[in-house]
């Protein structure tokens, strides 16, 4: 598995640390949110068989956290970008 780091180029996945689902949002006010919302924030993570939007850190490279789109079945990494940079619309494949 290889991940195309926007700074370092395509590097082996061994250099990266997996950070789980991307963009998990903490409830704005933990004191007033329901147990269900808090449970969802703490414990429920997307776990699809197929494309997954997740975070990886290039630990043994530039050290940046990245947004990565990886297929959990084929382990094909479709795209990697700095956090917050929107993913470009996929080109129609030739």
């Amino acid at each position: 598995m290889q991940i195309p780091c926007p700074y370092c180029g395509t590097r082996d996945a061994l250099e990266f640390t997996w950070g789980g689902q991307a963009a998990v949002v903490r409830p704005a006010d933990p004191q007033s949110c329901s147990d269900e919302e808090w449970c969802r924030y703490l414990f429920i993570r997307s776990n699809p068989r197929g494309p997954h939007h997740e975070r990886w850190c290039h630990t043994y490279g530039c050290g940046q956290w990245l947004d990565v789109w990886r297929d959990t079945l084929t382990h094909v990494v479709e795209h990697a970008a700095l956090i917050g940079v929107p993913r470009p619309r996929s080109e129609p494949s030739a």
Partner: protein
């Protein structure tokens, strides 16, 4: 249909005919249109559940449907270790019940599961690790489960090939053993339960993938499969690493992530290891002489039944650091299974947000040793609609209430110290 007994006479008779005329162990029926209970997943848990449904609760209009073949998932991919050396009281009770069932299972099923209670040993490489083990031994004894701390001298006698001190600075401080722990022929567990469930009238349908569910007013009415619709008012899901996929089809989320857990076997050698070593790397020697070795899960979610190279390397490095002699062995096979990990490393045995659907999942890295207890408890849940007294702690609601049962240490997930 009578259950065929295995005897020397049978063996001799079939030897004469070149072992070509053994009858099949179970039927391969077409799915009926309707069952009282439908179990998804023909691994150890699904098959054991079917058996106990029929035996303990008299529910014989039941079926097990399996996407692949029986025991082809984690039941046939694990390292076959059985033990009950857990930490929290509900876990110890549950897993020791499981181990006691395993102790009588060959007799109960009339099928040799080849239980070998050779002892499961964990090693401590710091005084802190040894202190945690002391706590665990005390917790086990308090719950009435025998286990004992080991001195380095005792460990030396149990595992003569173990290197106690490595150039990397690792030093053996002690360990502990559960002598009733050991290994089981894992396929035999699936086959034994399948045969016994089939003899009680349960249909076992392989090569039958679930494609969807039918519900009415928030209650399940049937399951859509590759072989067509099967109606059932109660559906049990026991599909390990695929639990989230089926839950998504039903419209709810689970606190589960799926990861690949791998194992490998070496070429066969003469007896070199009498006990099961458990911990950051776990290894035992099979009856054929192969070393059966496992390590941690991959470090990212996966639905591929193969593992990344990183864990192969970690596992091997740790093994060879412990047993330098094993560095000369060649390896024959390496594979992985998909484990369903929960945040507290304890299972979920509960009804689901969809009426009629019950869950047996979250077994994570130790589903195999839980099969008999999981089967008894899941059958109870499916038959009565109420949690088995021994499984009440393993609720889905604990993630909201906060009553977590942290068994990360028992799963080998968080009290491992890096050895190198």
């Amino acid at each position: 249909m009578g259950r065929m007994a295995h005897s020397i006479l049978q063996l001799a008779r079939h030897a004469i005919s070149g072992h070509q005329r053994w009858p099949p162990f179970w039927r391969s029926p077409q799915a009926r249109e309707r069952y009282d209970v439908l179990i998804i997943g023909g691994g150890g848990h699904g098959l054991a559940t079917a058996y106990y449904l029929a035996r303990n609760h008299g529910i014989r209009r039941a079926a097990v449907i399996e996407r692949g073949w029986l025991g082809g998932g984690n039941t046939g991919r694990n390292t076959a270790i059985v033990r009950s050396n857990y930490l929290a009281a509900p876990s110890i009770r549950f897993y020791d019940f499981s181990l006691r069932q395993y102790e009588g299972l060959s007799r109960e099923l009339g099928y040799n599961i080849m239980l070998s209670q050779r002892g499961v040993v964990n090693l401590a490489f710091s005084r802190h690790q040894l202190r945690l083990m002391n706590r665990r031994v005390n917790a086990l004894r308090h719950a009435g489960v025998a286990s004992e701390l080991l001195t380095t001298g005792q460990i030396r006698r149990l595992m003569p090939l173990l290197r106690e001190q490595s150039s990397a600075g690792r030093r053996l401080f002690g360990g502990f053993i559960q002598r009733r722990g050991g290994v089981v022929r894992h396929d035999a567990v699936a086959w034994g339960y399948a045969r016994a469930a089939d003899a009680l009238g349960v249909d076992i349908i392989q090569d039958c993938e679930v494609t969807g569910f039918q519900t009415r007013n928030g209650a399940v009415t049937g399951v859509e499969t590759r072989h067509g619709l099967i109606s059932a008012p109660r559906v049990g899901i026991a599909v390990a690493g695929s639990s989230s996929v089926l839950a998504a089809k039903l419209g709810f989320d689970l606190p589960i992530t799926s990861m690949a857990l791998q194992a490998m076997v070496s070429e066969p050698v003469k007896p070199v290891l009498d006990v099961v070593l458990d911990g950051a790397v776990y290894v035992s020697q099979s009856d054929r002489g192969e070393l059966v070795i496992g390590g941690g899960t991959d470090v990212y979610t996966s639905y591929a039944q193969r593992s990344g190279i990183q864990r192969v390397e970690d596992t091997m490095a740790t093994l060879i650091d412990l047993f330098p002699a094993f560095g000369r062995l060649r390896f024959m096979r390496q594979w992985a299974g998909l484990v369903d990990l929960t945040p507290d490393a304890s299972p979920i045995l509960d009804s689901s947000p969809v009426n009629g659907v019950c869950l047996s999942c979250g077994w994570g890295t130790y589903g195999f040793k839980a099969i008999p207890a999981g089967g008894v408890a899941f059958a109870h849940l499916l038959a009565t609609g109420a949690s088995h007294p021994m499984a009440q702690a393993f609720s889905l609601g604990r993630f909201q209430s906060g009553a977590l049962i942290d068994e990360g240490g028992s799963a080998g997930m968080d009290d491992r110290e890096p050895l190198l």
